[in-house]
Amino acid sequence: MDLISFGDNGWGDELFIATLMTIAVAITAMLIGFLFALIFTPLKLSKNKFLNLIANSYTTVVRGVPELLVIYLFFFGGSSAIMYVAQIFGYYDYIEINAFITGATSIGIISGAYSTEVFRGAIQSIDKGQFEACHVLGLKKYIYFFKVIMPQMLRLAIPNLSNVWQITLKDTSLISVTGLVEIMRQSYIAAGSTRDPLFFYSFAALLYLMLTYLSMKLINRLEKNYSRGY
């Protein structure tokens, strides 16, 4: 038990901060994913074949390639890509992006591909009459989207989005390869210096279980809120 005590002798405080880091990365990645979904879902639903192709290749490639490979691409390629762009604007210094941004972006792009599929499915399963009714009533475009389509879409999307959240949360463990100190990385450090990997990795598993359990509880409450009236 000494191993996870708080303070100088134990790893409790380090692991606590690492858990907060995991939560922060997961939430940032999820939000970045929503941003991508917001861009690609309309492309996917559009009637233009070319725009369809762009959105479909995004979701197919990202969902078909291992997460670790995507993370390596961003980890090794991220700063050189940004430096390349910066050089065009006449900035020649070395730029290093921090591990948090690299990690959250790469996980966010993966999570975005899954979210896009969820939103597409949810919008497609809304009754056609709803769209027609908005059209007939002459509603303004943003009212039509935010007040009519969005609430119905969210009700259908939340159960699947909760799956996406679980995937995103578990994917954050892969960022440890870039050196960002989240649960996995901290356990790796602790296991290395105490020579007690069994304990620390099991403890990490417990932390992840706790996170998935708590988020399930929260999402179930959200789901109830959005399905009132049904």
Binding site: T60, V61, R63, G64, V65, P66, E67, L68, L69, Y72, L73, F75, F76, G77, S80, K170, D171, T172, S173, L174, S176, V177, M184, S187, Y188, A191, R195, D196, P197, L198, F199, Y201, S202, A204, A205, Y208, L209, T212, Y213
Partner: protein, 224 residues
């Protein structure tokens, strides 16, 4: 774009594909057995038995695969007792540790897929078998399993693809699968984009094959 690098690293990555495919097929095979076993336990009326199966699937679906591999590869070696048994022959090899972790992980997901497939079988079908005087084993193997296979094919296809992506984690325990070789080439040449394109296309190609195989099987098992 460095075309030469693409040409030279393609055969290396293709060689690594063999390890990825070996890992994938071994873990799918053991995972399917585990999945079927735990799905049957899950449907047991005894609360303790079904609770055990639920605990297994909850544990392995609620934690990242990376943690599972690390516990098995780094963690189990710490137990002195294990080192003296014959199990150590298996557990000291990263290859077998990866297969054990993948099998347990995919077994948990497969048990959920199979359980829901068994639960959607209409009770009338089983009752029909019983009223024809067929025994329990016969009903299970000749009626329930074929229907369950058909029901679970789309979900199982997704699971195969998820597992294919999961095998990339074998590279974290020193195995040189596609991702392991890709990382090695990237870190020696600092050309991530080219390597990503080749390695990614190999993975996408396997995904494409799996997708079409499942589609073909779905057609084959459709009701006439």
């Amino acid at each position: 774009m460095d075309l030469e690098l693409i040409i030279t690293s393609f055969p290396k990555l293709l060689g690594a594909t063999l390890i990825t495919l070996k890992l994938l097929s071994a873990s799918l095979f053991f995972g399917l057995i585990l999945g079927l076993f735990f799905a049957i336990l899950r449907l047991n009326k005894n609360k303790l038995v079904s609770g055990f199966a639920y605990g297994y699937s909850y544990l392995f679906r609620g934690t990242p695969l990376l943690v599972q591999i690390f516990i098995i590869y780094f963690g189990l070696g710490q137990i002195e007792y294990l080192r003296s048994t014959f199990l150590w022959v298996i557990l000291k090899e990263p290859y077998w540790c990866a297969i054990i972790a993948f099998s347990l992980n995919t077994g948990a997901y497969t048990s959920e897929i199979l359980r829901s497939a068994f639960q959607t079988i209409k009770p009338g079908v089983i009752e029909a078998g019983r009223s024809l005087g067929l025994n329990k084993v016969f009903i299970f193997t000749k009626i329930q399993i074929p229907i369950a296979i058909k029901q679970s094919l789309p979900a199982y296809g997704n699971e195969i693809i998820l597992m294919l992506k999961g095998t990339s984690l074998a590279s974290t325990v020193t195995l040189m699968d596609i991702t392991g070789v890709a990382k090695f080439i990237i870190s020696t040449t600092f050309r991530p984009v080219e390597v990503f394109i080749i390695a990614g296309s190999i993975y996408l190609f396997i995904t494409f094959l799996v997708h079409n195989l499942i589609k073909y099987l779905e057609k084959k098992y459709r009701y006439q």
